[in-house]
């Protein structure tokens, strides 16, 4: 008994060492043979593992990139925001602008079978099936009969998606939709093959196909030999690796990664300044805006002048240059300039004089004095950056108005709950566009009941303008209608715009032709790893 303990301990150690070495040799990857031609492998870090490879189920932004790698839809967005034909070789639009007929090119799935219009019919109808839980179903509501079918008020057969023959797809819309082709380039409209969405046996049709996916470890996609345009694809392999942000940066420095940062992950905030001054940081605009929501249903922010006062008193230049890093731009309107539509602002940044007057007038209108003002609380989700923004703005408002706004940092779900139930006064928020069209931003506040609104604000003129814009097919006229709508929003100020978002990333110099969409995803169809390009 006495010796047993010691012997047991030693035996345990020895056994453990053997066990470990066994484990190690099992999982040690065999040395690859020296390749004859250097394989073009692009390694990217992501913050989280992709949530699913079925485009019908995906809502989170980081997973959109692998979807665009593996699948292809009717249209593709590419450099400069242009929409080019993908599977839809020819598109014909009816004179009433409601019927789209697509002539599909001959193409195959990764398992060799032909891709036909029936696959699109299957995918889109399954999305709308109320028995299939698709969060993205509402993106198809522009199609006639879609909303009714999805809500159980109509049959799927009445949805206006038809395969006229194997290579011809026809879709009828509820009403003319100027941004329909933008929609077709998003992941919401990607086709899937029936029973081909199991990750172990994924059948896809895009430039790349799934080689293997070790969850939380790496996702490896290789060039898809069945892709119709396979000769344009240069990369041999794309590898997505979930990594901690700091670790990813270190691996980028040791050249184990080709790309890190937006859109799939975030560069550590404290490194942005250093990266910027060393000239290695790459910046691109994002189609996203951060703003404060005001609860217009609660005193005292039901008063428009007070809202405008708070909005005008913010010094956005200080915020973007000093408080938060990342090359974000002060926002003087809701719609970011990256959508290529508008460039001038609706008010002046840091207009403290006017803000003070508005503040006084607002108080008078309500009939209270500054000291009688009920305590105002600013809510936001926990996070370093949000915290800094809140503190900075708190001080700005204190300096201008002499009042002390309370800060309330919450856990994210608690915050969403507060926001939905209107149990807040000022809340930090953001919106990132689904498509490159301003209406996507303006629709957020369309009516009081819109789920994305949460400000309790509604305006008849605003709603009417938005609806009018959908009927207007002339680009310029439509732009001016939308601009009018934005004007109404900025006058009423149920929200105070803060800044337009930017994508900050690091990319090795020899990687070229990657399309980074303002919508927050990467497209590698034309990407290449070439000779080191001398950066001027």
């Amino acid at each position: 008994m006495k010796n047993v303990m010691r012997d047991l301990f030693v035996a345990l150690l020895v056994g453990f060492a053997l066990f470990l070495s066994g484990c190690a040799s099992e999982s040690e990857t065999p040395k690859p043979e020296a390749p004859k031609v250097k394989e073009k492998i692009l390694r990217i870090s992501t913050t989280t593992d992709p949530t699913s490879l079925d485009p019908r189920l995906v809502r989170d932004l980081p997973t959109v990139t692998p979807l665009h790698m593996l699948y292809e839809g009717l249209k593709r967005a590419t450099f400069g925001g242009k929409i080019e034909p993908a599977l839809a070789e020819e598109t014909t639009i009816s004179p009433d602008l409601k019927t789209y007929t697509f002539k599909l090119r001959e193409s195959k799935w990764s398992d060799g079978t032909s891709l036909t219009a029936h696959d699109f019919v299957y995918t889109w109808k399954s999305l709308l099936d109320p028995k299939f839980p698709a969060p993205n179903a509402y993106q198809l509501y522009v199609i006639k009969g879609a909303k009714a079918a999805n809500e159980g008020n109509g049959s799927l057969d009445d949805v206006a998606i038809k395969a006229l023959d194997a290579q011809t797809l026809q879709v009828e819309l509820e009403s003319p939709t100027p941004y329909f082709e933008e929609l077709l380039a998003t992941h919401f409209y990607l086709p899937v093959k029936q029973d081909g969405t199991e990750p172990n046996n994924l059948i896809s049709n895009g430039p790349f196909m799934l080689d293997h996916w070790d969850r939380n470890d790496e996702l490896v996609a290789v060039k898809n030999p069945q892709y119709w345009d396979v000769d344009t694809v240069n990369l041999d392999k794309v590898v997505l690796i979930p990594l901690d942000d700091h670790t990813a940066l270190q691996m980028f420095e040791t050249e184990e990664l080709g790309w890190t940062g937006s859109p799939m992950s975030t560069l550590p905030a404290d490194t942005l300044d250093a990266l910027q001054s060393s000239g290695r940081l790459a910046v691109a605009p994002a189609a996203g805006t951060y703003f404060f929501r005001f609860n217009t249903a609660m005193t005292p922010l039901h008063n428009k002048k007070l809202r405008r006062a708070f909005a005008l008193a913010i010094n956005r230049k200080d915020l973007t240059q000093h408080v938060i890093q990342g090359n974000h731009q002060p926002a003087l309107g809701l719609i970011p300039p990256s959508l290529g539509f508008f460039v001038t602002g609706y008010f002046q940044d840091d207009d403290t004089t006017r803000a003070w007057y508005l503040f006084q007038e607002g108080l008078e209108e309500i009939g209270i004095s500054k000291d009688e003002l009920p305590p105002i609380v600013l809510c936001y989700t926990n996070g370093d950056r949000n915290h800094k923004i809140a503190q900075a703005v708190q001080q700005q408002w204190n300096k201008t108005f002499g009042i002390s706004v309370k800060l309330n940092a919450c856990e994210s779900q608690l915050f969403f709950d507060k926001r939905k139930s209107g149990a807040y006064q000022i809340a930090l928020g953001s919106w990132f566009a689904d498509i490159r069209d301003p209406i996507n931003f303006l629709d957020v506040f369309k009516s009081r009941k819109t789920s994305t609104n949460n400000t309790g604000w509604e305006n008849v003129q605003y709603k009417t303008l938005l609806e009018l814009s959908s009927l207007e097919m002339d680009q310029e006229k439509r732009k001016s209608i939308l601009r009018n709508a934005e004007g109404v929003l900025m006058d009423q100020m149920p929200i105070a715009p803060l800044f337009y978002s930017s994508l900050n990333y690091l990319k090795q110099n020899d990687i070229i032709n990657v399309y980074l969409s303002e919508l927050g995803y990467l497209d590698f169809k034309y990407a290449d790893i070439g000779e080191i390009v001398e950066e001027s």
């Binding site: 000093h322 926990n382 001080q395 940092a409 856990e411 608690l414």
Partner: protein
């Protein structure tokens, strides 16, 4: 034959005075204090702690800055005559913020350590001493509490109590005492067989008396762990912060500035 004088055989006188203990007698606490003074390391530690506490109290008054004045053009300055510890990324004086935060950190750290110590020691000690079914129930209760997803409990506390100092304290102590209880239980299980415990029981000592007077003081490791918990407290504060249980800014705590 040798003769012995008679004086040698006179009866001895009764000495009724007892044996005298020459060394001064110490009370329990005096003994701890003496041991403490002997250990240089412990003494140094105490001095450091006292210094920190003094600085926590007077530190923020030594500078012309408050802990919340934001001064963006002067952000991220290295230590200088203007900012003794430099400025943070919003331009606030770090010296002031560190000592202001130290108040909160020291308070929570010491309070949490004491609560965990008291609760854990009493719980674990009692369970071990009584043994049997009571031990089983008490420890299963601890196990159940320990198994619950901690973040859910913290979120719930946050919802009920709102953000604030007491919430952080509650979040830290609600689970923290369990590890202490386990350690103390282990020690007491081992110690309760000692003779002095049996003697105390034979003399009719009550359970609390045995526990507090005899067992706990001898379960030395748990004293040593009080300081471990003190440091743990500092660390753990970052976890509830994830769920907004902390003070609303611009209050600072050491965890805030450090991380």
């Amino acid at each position: 034959m040798q003769t012995f004088p008679e004086e040698l055989f006179l009866p001895a006188e009764l000495e009724l005075h007892h044996e005298e203990v020459i060394a001064p007698s110490y009370s329990f606490w005096k003994e701890i204090w003496n041991n403490f003074k002997q250990r240089r390391v412990a003494a140094v530690g105490l001095v450091v702690l006292v210094l920190l506490s003094i600085m926590a109290v007077i530190g923020p008054y030594l500078t012309p800055y408050t802990y919340y004045d934001i001064n963006l053009p002067l952000k991220n300055q290295p230590p200088s005559t203007m900012f003794w510890f430099g400025s943070d990324d919003l331009g606030r004086d770090i010296f002031t913020r560190v000592w202001y935060g130290a108040r909160i950190s020291l308070f929570i750290g010491i309070a949490a350590a004491l609560i965990d110590l008291a609760l854990g020691a009493i719980w674990g000690g009692t369970a071990a001493l009584i043994g049997g079914k009571t031990d089983e129930i008490m420890m299963r209760f601890a196990d159940i509490l320990y198994s619950l997803p901690y973040l859910i409990v913290v979120t719930l506390l946050m919802m009920i109590m709102g953000p604030g100092l007491l919430t952080i304290l509650a979040a830290m102590t609600i689970i923290g005492w369990i590890t202490m209880a386990r350690i103390v239980r282990g020690q007491v299980l081992h110690l309760k067989q000692q003779e002095y415990v049996l003697a105390a029981q034979a003399l009719g000592a009550s359970l609390p008396r045995i526990l507090f007077r005899h067992l706990l003081p001898n379960a030395r490791p748990h004293h040593g762990n009080a300081d471990a918990h003190h440091s743990l407290s500092h660390i753990c504060r970052s976890l509830p912060k994830l769920h907004g249980a902390g003070n609303t800014s611009p209050n600072s705590q050491l965890g805030n500035d450090g991380s």
